[in-house]
Amino acid sequence: MRYVVGYTANARGHDAVHLAVALARNHDVSLDLVLVIPEDSPFNAVYPPEAGYNDILNEQAQRWLDEGLDLVPDDVSARAHIRRGDSEAQTLIDAAVEFDAAALVIGATNSGLLKRFTIGSVASSLLHSSPVPVALAPHGYHRTEPITRLSCGFGTRPGADELLDVAVESARDRGLPLRLVSLLALDGGNSPGLADAAWVHAADRLAAVGSSARVDSPAASADSGYAAGSDAAGSDAADVPEPEIVVAQGRTIEEAVDRLDWEDGEILLIGSSRLAQHRATFLGSTANRILRALPVPMIVVPRDYTRQSA
C-alpha cells in the first residue's frame, strides 16, 4: 500500500512526514513524498523572457526532498517526486490517484496560533474534494512511533455505518484498539438521557456492523471517556480488545472534544459530510469544529469509501 505525503520544506511538511511515518509503521506501507511546484502560466509571461528559473527551482526542490527523505527512518520505505501543477491540492490528488494511494497525508498548517488545527488553503481544498482519505497532522506533530489507538467519530447521520465499517476493518488490520466517540453539544450541561440514547445507538450500530464486536461495559455516564490499554500496537488481530464506546458532552463540540482523553499515539477517523459528492471528502461543519479543538491527527474518509485491502 502507498501513502502520498504532501511535502513542503517547512514545519507543515515535517508534520506530515512524521504522521505518515507513524501511520506506515503499523502497516506495510511505503511513502511517496510529493513536492508540488507551480506551473507557470504563459499568460503570466515574465519580462524579460527567461527559461532558466525552473532549473534553479528544480534543484532547490531536489534538495528539499532530500531533507524530507532524511526525516523518514530506515525501517520505512519512501520515495520522492517533484510534480508541477497550478493547484497544489489538485496535483496531490492526481498523484494519489496515479499511485493508487490509500491515503493522502498532509500537515494542517504552519501557523496555528490558538488552536492546533488552523486549516491552510491546500488542506482545506483537499478536505473538500479528495477521493482518498486525507490524514491531517496537527501543528508541531513530532511523533513517529506507531499509532496506538484508533478513534472513530460517530454520529447518527447517513453514512455513519460505512464509516464504522472502515474503522472496524482498519482497527482489525492494524491490530489497534478501537474507540467509538460520540460527541454531543448540549447547551444545558449534562443530559444523561441523551447520552444514554447516543450510547445505545452506537452499540447497536457497532453490533450490526462487526459481528465480532461485543459490547459489555456500558459507559454512558462517562463524559470524558476512559483509558484503554495502549500496548496493542503490533499485536495480532485476535488480541485486539473489544471496541469501546465513549459519549462526550460539552456545551460546545469543542468543549466535548477537550473533555475526552486522547492518547499521544491516537488518531481520529471522521466521515465526510452528506454534502460530499460520491467518493469524495467534504468536511462538514461539525467535523470542522472537532478539527479545531482536536489535539491528535485525524483522517477524513470520503463518502461511500471502500477500503483498499492491504
Binding site: P42, F43, A45, H81, I82
Partner: protein, 504 residues
C-alpha cells in the same frame, strides 16, 4: 502488523525536459495577447507620450517608428542567446559568459535597476489613476487632487508596491481569460480615445486642432541629435516587452511558426495603436506648452489623466480603468523579473546567497522579491521628494537604463557567437549584424542621453547640485552598482575570479 525493516529510499529525478510551462498551450492569438499585455500599451502611452513630445514635438510618429528598429535588432540577438543559454539571469548570465564577471555583473545590475525604476513608475501611475477614478466615480474633482498631496501620494504608492509584492510573492497566476479581457479592454479604450479625439477635431471642438502633415513622419526633421537620442531612448521603453513573443517556443501550439507570426502581428497591432493615438493626441491637443497642449510640462507625467476628460467626456472613467488595470497587472508581473534576476545572481554567488532563497511555501524567490519592493519604494520616495515631476524623470531615466543593459546584452550576443556567426547568412545576420548594429545604436543613445541629461534643464528641469536630476538618477544608479560590485568583490571574490560562471 509491523513490517520488516526496509530501506528503499530512491528518488525519481524529473526529466530535464520538464520546463515550467505547459507545452502547446498557446495559440497565435494567445501569443499576441501575451505580447500586447507585456507591453501594456495604455500604461506606456500615458507615461511616455508626454516626455517624448516635449523632446521631438510633432515628430512623435516618426520617432515611434524609428524607435522600433534598435528594439527589433537587439531582440533578434536576445532570442539567439535565450535559445543557446536559457537562464533565469538573462542579461547577467549572458554578459558574464561573454565578457566575464565584471561586465556581466553590471549588465545584471542594469536590468534590475530598469525593472526597479519601472516598478516605481507603474505604482505611481496606478496611484494617479486610482485617485482620478475616485474623482470620476464620485464626480468630485477634489478627490483627484489628493494624488498631488506629497505624503498621501507617497503613502498610497508604497501601499500599492507592497500589495503587488505580496501578490507576486504568493505567486498568483493571471489566467488566460483575465489576460484576454485586460488586453481587449485596453485596445478598445485607446481606440475610443483616438476616435473621439478625431471627432472633436472634425467638429472644431478640439483644444488646438493641428493638421496632420507628412513631415510628422520624417525622423530627419527632428531639430537636433540630442532630441533624437532622447526620443529614441524613450521609444525603446514603449516597445519594451514586445520581444517576449519572439522567445516563446514549447508553450506555443506550433513552435515553428507561431512565435514569428505572433511577433509580427503584435508589432503591427502596437504600431497601429501607437500611431493612431499619437496622431489623435497631436491633432487634438497640439504640441503647445499651455493648457491641454501635449508639450505642457504639467501634462508630461501622465497625458491621459489630463486629456481623457476633455476628449472622452463622461466615458473618461474607462480610460482610468484601462490604465489602472494594465498598470496594476504589469506591476504584479514585473515584480517577478528583478526578483528572478537577483535570485540568479544570488544563486551564482555574485551577490549574497540570501537572494537565492526560495520560499518553501510559495516556491517563489522570497528574499529577492521583498528586496525588489524595498528598492522600488526607496527609489520612488527619493525621486518624488527631489523632483518637481517625478514620473517624467523616472521614465527618462528608465529609457537610459534600458539602453544600457540592452546594449550590453546585444554586444554580449555578438561576442558570444563570434566563432559561429560567420558560418552562414542566417547566423551572420541574427547573431552578428543585427545585435551589433542594435547594440551600438542603443549604447550611443545611452551615452548621448547621459551627457545631455547633465544639463539642469533636462527633463522636468529638476536638478541636484547644478546637475540634471535625470543624470543623477541614471548615472547615480549605475555608479551605485559599481560601488556595490566592488564591495561584493571584497566579500565574495569567487564569482569575480570566474570560478562560478566561466567565460565561454
Amino acid at each position: 502488523m509491523s513490517t520488516a525493516p526496509k530501506t528503499v529510499q530512491s528518488k525519481e529525478t524529473p526529466g530535464l525536459s520538464e520546463k515550467g510551462l505547459k507545452a502547446g498551450s498557446v495559440g497565435l492569438i494567445g501569443a499576441v495577447v501575451i505580447g500586447v499585455s507585456c507591453i501594456a500599451p495604455a500604461y506606456t502611452l500615458t507615461a511616455a507620450l508626454g516626455p517624448t513630445v516635449s523632446e521631438v514635438g510633432v515628430h512623435l510618429p516618426a520617432i515611434f517608428l524609428v524607435g522600433f528598429i534598435p528594439m527589433l535588432l537587439v531582440a533578434l540577438g536576445y532570442r539567439e542567446l535565450n535559445n543557446a543559454m536559457p537562464d533565469a539571469g538573462t542579461s547577467f548570465t549572458w554578459a558574464t559568459r561573454a565578457f566575464g564577471p565584471w561586465i556581466g555583473w553590471m549588465g545584471g545590475w542594469g536590468l534590475i535597476a530598469a525593472t526597479i525604476i519601472v516598478l516605481s513608475n507603474l505604482a505611481a501611475v496606478a496611484v494617479d489613476f486610482f485617485y482620478l477614478m475616485l474623482a470620476q466615480i464620485f464626480s468630485n474633482p477634489a478627490l483627484g487632487e489628493l494624488s498631488k498631496i506629497l505624503p498621501l501620494n507617497i503613502a498610497t504608492t508604497l501601499v500599492f508596491i507592497a500589495l503587488a509584492c505580496w501578490i507576486s510573492y504568493r505567486g498568483m497566476e493571471t489566467t488566460k481569460g483575465v489576460q484576454y479581457v485586460l488586453v481587449a479592454f485596453q485596445l478598445l479604450v485607446l481606440g475610443w480615445f483616438a476616435v473621439s479625439a478625431f471627432a472633436h477635431v472634425a467638429n472644431g471642438t478640439a483644444f488646438d486642432a493641428t493638421t496632420i502633415s507628412p513631415d510628422w513622419f520624417n525622423p530627419f526633421a527632428v531639430d537636433s541629435f540630442s532630441q533624437f537620442a532622447a526620443g529614441v531612448s524613450l521609444s525603446i521603453f514603449i516597445y519594451w516587452g514586445w520581444d517576449v513573443t519572439l522567445t516563446m517556443n514549447e508553450e506555443t501550439k506550433n513552435p515553428e511558426k507561431t512565435p514569428g507570426r505572433a511577433a509580427t502581428i503584435t508589432v503591427l497591432v502596437i504600431v497601429i495603436i501607437y500611431m493612431t493615438v499619437a496622431l489623435a493626441t497631436l491633432s487634438f491637443a497640439g504640441v503647445g506648452e499651455t493648457g491641454l497642449g501635449a508639450g505642457n510640462p504639467e501634462n508630461q507625467s501622465s497625458i491621459f489623466a489630463v486629456l481623457a476628460g476633455p476628449v472622452m467626456g463622461p466615458f473618461a472613467i474607462l480610460m482610468s480603468l484601462a490604465i489602472l488595470s494594465s498598470s496594476a497587472a504589469s506591476l504584479q508581473s514585473t515584480f517577478v523579473s528583478p526578483a528572478r534576476t537577483m535570485l540568479a545572481m544570488g544563486h551564482y554567488r555574485a551577490i549574497s546567497p540570501k537572494f537565492g532563497k526560495i520560499s518553501p511555501t510559495y516556491k517563489s524567490p522570497s528574499f529577492a522579491t521583498i528586496a525588489a519592493a524595498i528598492a522600488a519604494a526607496a527609489f520612488y520616495v527619493i525621486t518624488r521628494t527631489v523632483s518637481e515631476n517625478a514620473l517624467w524623470d523616472t521614465i527618462t531615466a528608465l529609457g537610459m537604463m534600458i539602453c544600457f543593459y540592452y546594449g550590453i546584452t546585444a554586444l554580449a550576443c555578438v561576442w558570444f557567437f563570434r566563432a559561429s556567426a560567420f558560418s552562414g547568412v542566417r547566423p551572420f545576420f541574427f547573431k552578428f549584424l543585427a545585435p551589433l548594429v542594435g547594440g551600438v545604436i542603443l549604447l550611443v543613445m545611452f551615452v548621448k542621453t547621459a551627457m545631455d541629461s547633465m544639463d539642469p534643464e533636462y527633463g522636468s528641469g529638476s536638478s541636484v547640485g547644478g546637475v540634471g536630476l535625470v543624470f543623477v538618477l541614471g548615472m547615480g544608479v549605475i555608479l551605485l552598482g559599481v560601488v556595490v560590485m566592488l564591495v561584493m568583490y571584497r566579500l565574495r571574490p569567487e564569482f569575480f575570479k570566474g570560478k562560478v560562471l566561466t567565460r565561454a
